[in-house]
Subunit: 205 residues, 2 copies
DNA sequence: AAAGAGTTTGACCAATTGGTCAGGGGAACG
DNA sequence: CGTTCCCCTGACCAATTGGTCAAACTCTTT
């Protein structure tokens, strides 16, 4: 099942329900901490029925991760040599922050995976992800060499952008415990702060 | 057992072995993902013997977390109004980064706990942690009001420091997958980058 | 060296967990 | 309207897991 995409309406509906439920559960408990019963209950299906659509627990998790990795790196792919370098980078930060706001479960799914040693995606990190980061680091290094931005180590710049933006999704509980915001209101302040942070850090000279 | 600190040598040795093993296992698998068998094996003890020293799985986890929280916030407590504000803050960043380098397991233990919703420490976050952060945020706000640092939102400044420094511990696998560093060599570059980042961002005017 | 505390273990248990399977019900389609 | 897939379930299973317990062993103290 689920090898060539959904076909019938029932399949489409149930697979979507399973993946949504699994995203809830995996992102909140990690792979080992999640149970099929939890996922089945959250999806409104019986466990055997769940296993009718997915071969096993790993298959659900793998499907979620591969779906995620596609969209997760889109903002970085969009970092191009088209406009002003500082605007490009700040735009990237804002896109990343917006993803943290609208897709916190996906961010936490990824965070769980990495914190626990990336057992399922290590090859992707060392392969395609590294290649993409290498490419963008070279672009940033070029901007620095041309004096269009300050001389910063591009890899650590990228790490800091990942860290500061994903923090609002991954450590959401802590952020809310300290700020007690109304809904997502604190994201506006976060955006202002990060905009200031990177504009200042990257201004040439 | 373990209610009033170790007494005999055997207790001291075994409790230390258990906590060290548990830190390995919990930080890598989260609370639910960790098993008593794993911890016992890593500590070189049998499972019943492990449970002779700790009442249950929760007790081990709780002990680790409370030990950790004490030391974890020390760097922030050290943020005082004694020297130059920018040096104070950069020192804090460096102390935090050094903790990420020397205590990555502790950082990941905490990260696992927060990512998974902080079920065991939510009260501490909303209580003592919030109080401490409120206090330091007021200090930073005072510096900004006095024009001694740039006008930044102090809470988000603190979040960004936590995020950027702990990233090197929590996402260690990813960082290493991209940089392939020799040992901890990349921490020097990280320190240089973060120093630049915060000096630029905080410079007044 | 015997008492007595402290330490360790094998055997065991109930609950949970990932997963299977045979068969029953339902929708679609000729 | 009957057949043929597709969908779903209850019952079940083996392995794992957190935890217990009585008995045995070991170390210290008198």
């Amino acid at each position: 099942m689920t090898d060539t995409g959904p076909r019938t309406r029932i399949q489409e509906r149930n697979i979507a329900a399973i993946l949504d439920a699994a995203l809830d559960v995996f992102s909140q408990a990690g792979f080992r901490g999640a149970t099929l019963d939890q996922i089945a209950r959250a999806a409104g299906l019986s466990k055997p029925n769940l296993l009718y659509y997915f071969k096993n627990k790993q298959a659900i998790h793998r499907e979620l991760l591969s779906e995620l990795l596609d969209t997760w790196l889109d903002p970085l792919r969009g970092l191009n040599d088209e406009g002003d370098p500082i605007e490009e980078i700040v735009d990237y930060v804002m896109r990343k922050l917006e993803m943290a706001r609208t897709m916190p479960r996906e961010s936490r799914l990824f965070a769980n995976e990495i914190v626990q040693g990336a057992p399922h995606v290590l090859d992707i990190i060392e392969g395609p992800l590294k290649a993409l980061v290498d490419e963008k680091a070279a672009l940033i290094r070029g901007w620095a060499a041309a004096g269009r931005i300050a001389a910063v180590e591009p890899y650590h710049l990228i790490f800091s952008i990942w860290a500061t933006t994903q923090h609002y999704a991954d450590f959401d509980v802590q952020v809310r415990g300290i700020l007690s915001p109304e809904g997502d209101a604190h994201f506006a302040d976060a955006a202002a702060f990060l905009s200031h942070l990177y504009r200042r850090a990257l201004a040439p000279g």
